[in-house]
Symmetry: C2
Amino acid sequence: MTVEIDHVGSTRLANRESREHVVNKSHADFRGEGLAAVLTGDGELAEGQIWEAAAFAAHYNLDNLTVICDINRLGQSDPTMYQHDMERYRLKWESEGFATQVINGHDVAAVLAALDKAKATKGKPQAILAETIKGHGFSEVADKMGWHGKPFSKDQLAAAIEELGGGPTVPPDPGKSYIRTSLPKPPDFPPAPAPDYKADAKVATREAYGFGLKRVGAVNKHVVAISGDVKNSTFSEIFQDAYPDHFYQGFIAEQNLVSTAVGLAARGKVPFADTFACFLSRAYDNVRMAAISRANINLCGSHCGVSIGEDGPSQMALEDIAMFRAVHGSEVFYPSDAISTERLTEHMARRAGINYLRTSRPKMPILYSKDEKFPVPGFKVLRQSAQDKATVIGAGVTLHEALKAADQLKSQGTAIRVIDLYCVKPLDGKALAEQIKATGGRLITAEDHWPEGGLGEAVLTALAGEGASPTKFKLIAVTKMPHSGKPEELIEAFGISAKHIVEAVKAIS
Amino acid sequence: MTVEIDHVGSTRLANRESREHVVNKSHADFRGEGLAAVLTGDGELAEGQIWEAAAFAAHYNLDNLTVICDINRLGQSDPTMYQHDMERYRLKWESEGFATQVINGHDVAAVLAALDKAKATKGKPQAILAETIKGHGFSEVADKMGWHGKPFSKDQLAAAIEELGGGPTVPPDPGKSYIRTSLPKPPDFPPAPAPDYKADAKVATREAYGFGLKRVGAVNKHVVAISGDVKNSTFSEIFQDAYPDHFYQGFIAEQNLVSTAVGLAARGKVPFADTFACFLSRAYDNVRMAAISRANINLCGSHCGVSIGEDGPSQMALEDIAMFRAVHGSEVFYPSDAISTERLTEHMARRAGINYLRTSRPKMPILYSKDEKFPVPGFKVLRQSAQDKATVIGAGVTLHEALKAADQLKSQGTAIRVIDLYCVKPLDGKALAEQIKATGGRLITAEDHWPEGGLGEAVLTALAGEGASPTKFKLIAVTKMPHSGKPEELIEAFGISAKHIVEAVKAIS
């Protein structure tokens, strides 16, 4: 079940200090036209996302939504939790704020009457709870376990049709119905205004995301943002401050957060959904299904890696690159300064498919001029000379550690090449291969992520695809379970600091 | 919120045809001793998993569970959905089957009385809904947004202590409290009986998982299984048939499924939780947190890849290897026949940490004798000669396609080496490097998975770590979004069949 909302509108209290935002629920005209109907089975009503969506729909007063629950008592492998306890279902939906009707789902007149009543009811979303019998009308299987997903034999089919009093005439399948059309492109828009930072500013990429979103919002009225109750950490709050009617509070319900973004995209919006990167792991199935549904959604995961510091491992995303790389048609961005963050945010708003931006908590120096371009695929070579002994590829905090390592090594007479891999997927293997070849095939990758499925493996695969595997290689990543600490302590303790990069360069040179 | 259940017990109706199992809810003595208390905030009550767990706890009549909800009205970034609407919370918990008490959470006597009453109430789990003020007792912050997770200044701390009438004396932190102890080992048990299949049998690995679980259950009474309403597809039903009191129905609620396994492990059980591999993507945060919690859990994901056939892409796991490799301390198994599946299932029951078994839907030939050992890390060389032109590494359906490719190439005079990579993590890079070196550095990996983070990248990384990258390499994987079809059609259409392996061998030889 995915609740699709359009603008619900929001206004903010003037009291800035308390930052208490109030959603204006009376803006029903913003929630989309027409009726929305959702059909669910009863087995899937055990799924938590159903109740995330139900609460969300009632909170935003989506009274044009009607959920029809087919309560047939039988799951795939056992009876459902509540079987035909219709009262239990009524209580559950009413507790969420839905108006309910319990009907006999085999009584067509009752179904039609319930739909009419739901259509006429205002002020609440609707749930029609239809009591049914699985396999109704064919006594051999009716109300019996063991038939879920099983095709009938020819004899059974004939017997079923006879018992049902004849079947409808179904036209033959023309075939090829599975051919997929290409993704719709998000609406075009003029270039966003250039980012604006002082050259010596230190800005967290998570904060630059908020500024970038605001700049994109200035030139593209279709851009909307939704946050999982962390807008003051992910900084989508900056966008909300500028465009309060284009921002939604998604609360702590990440599955519904991502599915709502899919719904917004289906309605022609350009949605950006954000939460801590680690919490997007709750919505991985929703991201997977968004790709299958050819949705155009933009996701921002903040607080990646051990560099978040004190909040500890439960808040550290160390698997998000692996997760988002393994999504069909995704692009994965990992910026290291505010300028690139803003430009990649703009790129995402233009692109069809699943786009993921990994942002970092620590403040980091500006690396680029405001007019720098960030092509996709692409990377930036930040240090290079004809004497480079090795290439070091990093992103986020590890890129800044690599730059420190380059400075230290330079003072000792060793030159290295340093690459900012702002785009982790897709990769230009050929262009990367040229860089690695120029440094004798010696490569070090460094990432604030587990070793598996991350930046290092992405680079290795791209190089191997070009027949240009490194001759000497070291993958620097987090390999032990981290704990709480100061960011710089953790970067050191968990093996991804400048010191470790220097050691790796010496080991492979 | 994780509900930890122990044996709830179950009995089965004699009617085998209907396969309708009934849980005996009266076996309260199986659900664990003592009281279980869960403290939740109100912001997190928007999270669907809370309601998966609530429904589950009520269904299994865990009346020794008391949930205490701190309803303080304010989320991190906005007021919560229901703020102080205590009646709404009462309705929600009661609709799930909980007995509720609404209290003033600042009235210590009321809190104690509510806990006493909860302890004395039988027949239902309990929810104590405590209305509180965030920052209660310090007027500068009480009931105000903007203070979530923010430390006070020294002056504020002094003012708060003064207004609260003095603070408690806290002993100084002895430090080093974060040092993690090693994982507890699951209980030891005697060797499981050897698998028993006819040499010419064709058995799906998903089915062999059920047989393996049954054999391990015969020698280890701590083994329990829980399924997300798919036990008749994942075949944990075979275990249930043998040990009905050691099996739980988890319903369609994957987050709670995995967290229940964590709870069972915490109670000394050796839990195996199963669902379709793609649906485990719903529980990725729970797996991540299980690793952080140093839990010992075994997960089985069935129906991997395009080889499932007709059910279409929503049911095809193409990202699960990437997902599970990027879990700290995990082991990832991908067996290609029934014997190895059973042996790896036994290995999992002995091992601490997160263990993942990827099983396949198609029936496949037996490859090994019943006494074959499957060390971890490890792999099997199934075809080899001194003339091998390339190494092909596969698992599951792609291994069988590689064997077909080897036969086809042999008839054309070309020999290849074929490796069964039953253990995808950890990998013995050195041993793999020797194999690749013996075939001139030419390597093909083939997997029923997206290219990212899977078997191919795992192998590449292991080889690069040994300074033994392939000289010529081709990664065969699913690169287009699949659709429905017959398994053999899809293997062909999506590029992972024997034909594609033959072409790759010719291209790199």
